[in-house]
């Protein structure tokens, strides 16, 4: 008997969250506690040895957070999830399980600016070296391979938007070299794209964005796809070798297809510490229930706004992968058939001056440095987030003087268009 796989919308509401078995509470309770009592000394010892399932301390596990982890793992079609305090924390914890000092990884040049800094500067201080590759030609990843490369990292739909990366082609190259592909799926969300289906091994989200969706909580999550063979050779000792801090336990051998997730939790969260707060987990979980509804509206609105801007004579260019004349339209059709997301960039003919004026004149759009909120957001990177860079560096980062980034919310599209129309003067 094969059961029909439940619809995404059903999973978004139900995955991970059965009623509380003790109280019957239907909504997942907020377990606002740091710690959990042991039955006795033997139970405590078993928990510390990872021999039984259970809670010790909220830095490692929390029953509210666990529901969020299972839910997003399910929505991504993955084996297990590990929630972290932010998207950046999730990236740190994932790499911590893969990298040893002196190891290298290849990352796409088309990433959120904060990730470029995290990889290029802060990871370098830990002896993890990033090698950059332009994803517009996936062959660049093959050319960048070295025998110290332990992972490949891309954003599927890339921030600041409009750019789609060929996940399947890059997954194939990574696997030819026996390294896992990590995809940051923040901008697409599991509703628009499941990178694991296209060969990714690990998915990372900043849950701060669409998954929570309401701009009220920082959060991140790592999804273990469960398919990578960490023990094929000795290149991933954190996963395959006996771990001295657990008296010789081997994570991959002991936990099988969720061994990577367990290492992220029992080593990364334990020792580096960026656990998600249970209250944030609750808010993000509540947000996740409406993810499919919101993404439909986000995408429909974004397409309308992008189409309006494209035909407006004050606008020089629009970069949205949902527009038929975008160079990424073909990839968007393949990887994002339900919509090309709601974050994109455009430029005004009036350049830098016109851009700052537009940002000052909008009334419904909030001028702030976030994306993936129910509210529409606007930012002029050259005068804010990328202000300290040279013009040349700004252009390379997709944040040239005339670039404006929008994150389209779920308001009425006509109101958003009217607001931009009046603000363009």
């Amino acid at each position: 008997m094969t059961e029909k796989k439940p619809d995404f919308a059903t999973l978004a509401v139900h995955a991970g969250s059965s009623p509380d078995p003790v109280t019957g509470a239907r909504v997942t309770p907020i377990y606002q506690t740091t710690s959990y009592v042991f039955d006795d000394a033997d139970h405590a010892a078993q928990l510390f040895n990872l021999q039984t399932f259970g809670n010790i301390y909220t830095r490692l596990t929390n029953p509210t957070t666990a529901v969020l982890e299972e839910r997003i793992a399910t929505l991504e079609g993955g084996r297990a999830g590990v929630a972290c305090a932010s998207g950046h924390a999730a990236q740190l914890i994932a790499f911590h399980a893969l990298m040893e000092e002196g190891d290298e990884f290849i990352a796409s040049t088309r990433l959120y600016g904060g990730s470029i800094t995290q990889f290029g500067q802060t990871f370098a201080k830990m002896g993890w070296k990033v090698i950059w590759a332009d994803p517009d030609d996936p062959e660049n990843f093959r050319r960048a391979m070295t025998d110290r490369v332990k992972a490949v990292f891309i954003e599927g739909l890339a921030n600041p938007g409009g750019v789609v990366t060929d996940i399947e082609a890059i997954a194939d190259i990574a696997h030819e070299h026996h390294v896992p592909l990590i995809v940051d799926n923040t901008l697409a969300t599991p509703y628009l794209c499941n990178p694991l289906q296209w060969g990714a091994d690990i998915v990372i989200h900043s849950a701060t964005k669409f998954i929570g969706g309401h701009g009220n909580s920082m959060g991140g999550i790592i999804i273990d796809g469960g398919r990578f063979d960490w023990s094929a050779d000795d290149r991933y000792p954190t996963l395959s070798a006996p771990n001295p801090s657990y008296h010789g336990l081997r994570f991959h051998e002991t936990f099988g297809d969720f061994g990577f997730a367990m290492a992220c939790r029992a080593l990364g969260l334990r020792d580096l510490g960026p656990a998600l707060s249970p209250f944030n987990a609750f808010l993000i979980l509540t947000g996740s229930e409406t993810l499919p509804l919101r993404m439909e509206k986000h995408c429909a609105n974004a397409l309308k706004v992008a189409e309006f801007l494209r035909q407006d004579e004050r606008v020089a260019w629009v970069s949205y992968a949902g527009l038929t004349d975008s160079p990424y339209y073909g990839l968007a059709q393949k990887y994002l058939p339900r919509g090309a997301g709601s974050i994109f960039t455009f430029g005004l003919k009036g350049g830098y001056e016109a851009g700052t004026e537009l940002v000052a004149r909008v009334n419904l759009f909030s001028h702030l440095a976030n994306i993936g909120d129910v509210r529409s957001l606007i930012i002029h990177p050259a005068s804010t987030t990328h202000r300290q860079l040279s013009e040349e560096q700004q252009i390379a980062a997709g944040a040239g003087p005339d670039v404006i980034r929008l994150s389209i919310g779920i308001e009425g599209a006509d109101d958003l268009i009217a607001d931009l129309d009046q603000a363009m003067g």
């Binding site: 239907r26 297990a80 010789g248």
Partner: protein, 160 residues
């Protein structure tokens, strides 16, 4: 019987019916996966009898170790195999002889011929699964570490 996917009720039925489990390949080494599984299942109220010729006569977790299934002096409901696929046919033959009702092969272990033989003798068969992980999945405990259990339910009571 399709051995590529088992229904939750099939696995839950086995874990509800069986009380005594012979664990072939049980390790005395506390950081080995079989030791983890044995300890966990004991905690859930199962009697787990270790089988390991190298340890025969010793004790693991309070239970005497036997050299083979046929040496176990009490009735066994289920035989859980922590051995590689090639070792399964011999274990299967003994499991049939001692009247076990379930032949269970651990994660990563499949032997279709042995499965057919056991089924022909009336045993239920599970391959490529771990009873600890299945118990955790069906009881809800596995969700505590963020693992996707593949279970959707608006019921207060878990399957196990």
């Amino acid at each position: 019987m399709n051995h590529d996917s088992y229904s939750d009720s099939y696995i839950a039925g086995i874990l509800r019916d069986c009380r005594t489990i012979a664990m072939v390949g049980a390790s005395a080494n506390w950081n080995r996966p079989s030791f983890f599984a044995m300890k966990y299942l004991q905690g859930k109220g199962y009697r787990v009898i270790p089988v390991n010729p190298g340890q025969a006569g010793n004790e693991i977790l309070g239970e005497t170790v036997y050299a083979g299934l046929k040496d176990i002096p009490v009735p066994v409901d289920m035989v859980d195999c922590f051995r590689k696929a090639e070792a399964i046919p011999a274990i299967c033959a003994d499991a049939i002889d001692i009247g076990a009702r379930v032949l269970w092969m651990q994660l990563g272990v499949r032997n279709m011929d042995a499965a057919r033989q056991a089924e022909a003798a009336g045993l239920k068969v599970v391959m490529d699964r771990c009873p600890k992980i299945e118990y955790g999945r069906l009881s809800g405990e596995l969700g505590w570490i963020g693992v996707n259990r593949g279970i959707l339910s608006a019921k207060k009571r878990p399957l196990l």
